[in-house]
Symmetry: C2
């Protein structure tokens, strides 16, 4: 049985190899959890997907839950990066910033269907402490969007009569639900889907004016 | 162990009692599946929830899957009724009809959080034949909405540059995602949430004009 991902530690800069090894490991876990469902999948299944012995995999994890947590934490790291990038763009009004965030987040979700699906199906399988960590991270995203909606309403770019929290849930619905309906082999391009979602969200938020 | 739901067959009109018994049975199944997850829940758990013996429950079902299927089929019967009622209202333009459908469907979803959650988490556990029956029912709902969006675009009530299929997925996202964020003990009224979702959807569909 080849054991590349473990042995690769011994050559080259450790951080890069460690990152590559983590990517391989979590990529395999994502495929296995998405295919079989997290509850039914075993650490053995993930080891088989990686082509390593279960014993080797246990050098890196203590439990199956470790894989789930790192996978979902990885999603949040990506989501945080998108948020920071969009927050840093200069010269956008709040609605333009929301539209840009929606476009990028929709593209990300289309590229990570397995992980987003696992996120919303199996998050509750985490221990309370770990679930709380993800919940706090999700709240940061939620605050970012609610603040932008409130700014748009304050600047009279959007109807201030609508509740910003309810609207933010409508917005997240549009962005997240992608994982349930997007077909990578479908006829509509990724860019067109991202633009259409951004249009829908923006005008939904604007409302009556 | 009381066995009321079984014995009640012997008095009164059979159809009404059968319906009440089915409601009790599926209500118990919904609570158990939502609490424990369908995979982890057993027929014994449902029998315990009903306060009957497992053997008595097996008079009505062959497998746990029967309960899941009838539960989800029941959701579709309700959804079909809502669709037919909204289709029958006179004097609405396509956007007004969509808004009315969104309001009613959002209220329904708020009243049936367990069932909607089970629908989207455990539907795939059904055998292929039964899954196909639900998929066909879901397509009828999808066609209803896509046709209304296309009518609105043809009447220039909505921007015809946006793809009606992508928009319909955005719309369903808004309506379905309710089950993930609605808090029955929250401060915002059901009616206000339904109205806000209808406003968001309608203006999202209208887009640039």
């Amino acid at each position: 049985v080849p054991d590349v991902s473990v042995k690769s530690d011994s050559t080259g800069p450790p951080t890069r190899n460690r990152r590559r090894r983590d990517d391989e490991l979590l990529g395999a876990a994502a495929r296995v959890f998405a295919d079989r469902g997290y509850s039914d999948a075993s650490v053995q299944d993930v080891a088989d997907e990686l082509g390593i012995l279960k014993g080797s995999l246990y050098h890196y994890i203590k439990t199956k839950e470790d894989l789930l947590f790192w996978l979902l934490e990885g999603v949040h790291n990506d989501v945080e990066r998108i948020r920071e990038e969009v927050a840093a763009i200069e010269g956008l009004d709040p609605l333009e910033r929301i539209a840009e965030w929606v476009r990028r987040q929709v593209l990300y979700n289309m590229d990570n269907l397995d992980r987003i699906s696992i996120y919303y199906h199996d998050m509750d399988r985490l221990s309370p402490g770990r679930l709380e960590i993800l919940t706090q991270k999700r709240k940061a995203d939620s605050r970012f969007i609610i603040n932008l909606i409130r700014e748009a309403q304050a600047q009279e770019l959007a109807d201030p009569a609508l509740d910003a929290r309810v609207l933010s849930n409508c917005l997240f619905a549009t962005v997240i639900w992608i994982y349930r309906w997007y077909n990578p082999n479908g006829q509509i391009s990724r860019a067109k889907i991202a633009d259409t979602c951004a249009e829908y969200v923006t005008h939904g938020l604007i409302g009556k004016r």
